[in-house]
Symmetry: C2
Subunit: 233 residues, 2 copies
């Protein structure tokens, strides 16, 4: 049964996938253990391990010590979304990118945002509103709150022609955070800035970036009506 065709973990993965697709191994079934598969494929166990682990990461297999490996019953449990890097996304569509600063101020933020920025106290926070355009038409509205601890007065002024996004990349450490996708109805402000009608459905991404509990920046991206974000599984 030893087979010499399987030399790389990719080829092992392909064979495993083929067996799943062909329903030789059905959802819920246990598959042979790594050692046996290694022998059948004529490769090292580490190679099989790499292949199976990768498939498990993608959600196609469930693996547990002692219990073994089985084909997942819910194949599509996660999808990897590529978060748009706005300027690049617009260019990729063959459109001309434009940036426009709409508002830049230091004010008391909404309670919810302020809480996590001022170590408990409510403090003034930098607030930037800007618009990214594609071929001159509104593409996405960026509404950002920046913890002043991370931005000096001088830096602040640069946002007149540099998107906060670009600046953040090189001035703020990598951190943790979360992202929320949702849909909102365009209010008066959004309608004006995005040149759409009030009530239009808009796709929204809220992202918060933290450094140990403390919020560094919180941003809402509101896209033009009809925007869609796509991914392959």
């Amino acid at each position: 049964m030893t087979d010499t065709r399987f030399k790389s973990w990719q080829s092992v993965q392909e064979e495993v996938l083929a067996r799943i697709h062909s329903r030789k191994w059905k959802p819920g079934d246990f598959i042979p253990n790594e050692a046996d598969l290694a022998q059948e494929f004529g490769c090292a166990r580490a190679t099989v391990n790499r292949a199976l682990q990768n498939l498990a990461d993608e959600g196609l297999l469930d693996r547990r010590r002692k219990a073994g490996t089985r084909v997942a019953t819910h194949p599509v449990r996660k999808a990897t979304m590529y978060i748009p890097i706005i300027r690049q996304e617009i260019r990729d569509r063959g459109l001309e990118y434009g940036y426009e600063l709409i508002r830049s101020e230091k004010v008391m933020p909404p309670r919810e945002i302020g809480k996590s920025m001022g170590s408990g106290k409510r403090i003034d926070v930098l607030h930037i509103v800007c618009l990214h355009t594609a071929d001159g038409r509104p593409y996405v509205l960026e509404d950002r709150w920046l913890n002043p601890k991370w931005v000096s007065r001088e830096d602040f002024s640069i946002f007149s022609d540099t998107s906060p996004n670009e600046w953040l990349v090189t001035h703020v450490p990598f951190t943790e955070g979360n992202i929320v996708f949702s849909a909102i109805s365009a209010g008066k402000t959004e309608a004006e800035l995005l040149s759409c009608k009030e009530g239009d459905a808009l796709f929204v991404i809220d992202r918060t970036t933290r450094d140990k509990q403390e919020t560094i920046t919180s941003v809402r991206l509101t896209f033009f009506p009809g925007y869609r974000i796509e991914t392959t599984i």
Copy 2:
């Protein structure tokens, strides 16, 4: 410089992360090569490799042969979204799951959907509309087209009390597909079925599952107003 604290790839990864966070290694910087790091950490190169590869997968490092490894300039490039398994999602929220079949028919599908199901010809296709409820309130509307090649007449009748989702898991092979997230404005139908107002902004997921070019099923999930999907980075 050899250090004995780093025994596992996770600990190596943590150390690398720490150096990125502390900005000892800044975005765009090259970091030492694997061999050097292995020596510094006092572990095998394979261990360093595993750690760095994982960070590269997460988008925090850019790696290229010969060129080397550098800290990514755009840290948050992708996010892994956990696609809701509706019944489970509702239960996780502590609500009672309910299922209601609204329509079940075999009809000529919209051109776009029909094309990829009938090997070129337009054929009748199974169409299911159902509603998933949480504590009796509309949660998500499921509008699904099923390639009849994959569903027999008898199977079809079961959808009166089983969500197509559950059925698909055990009867259809794993495949490829794509997912699209977007926002729509509630029309008359959505408003009625989801008990919301016309014009409300609704979050929508469109998912298509294919087996080699041929579409097996195409589904649109339209969520109640206010629905959000969240992920951590």
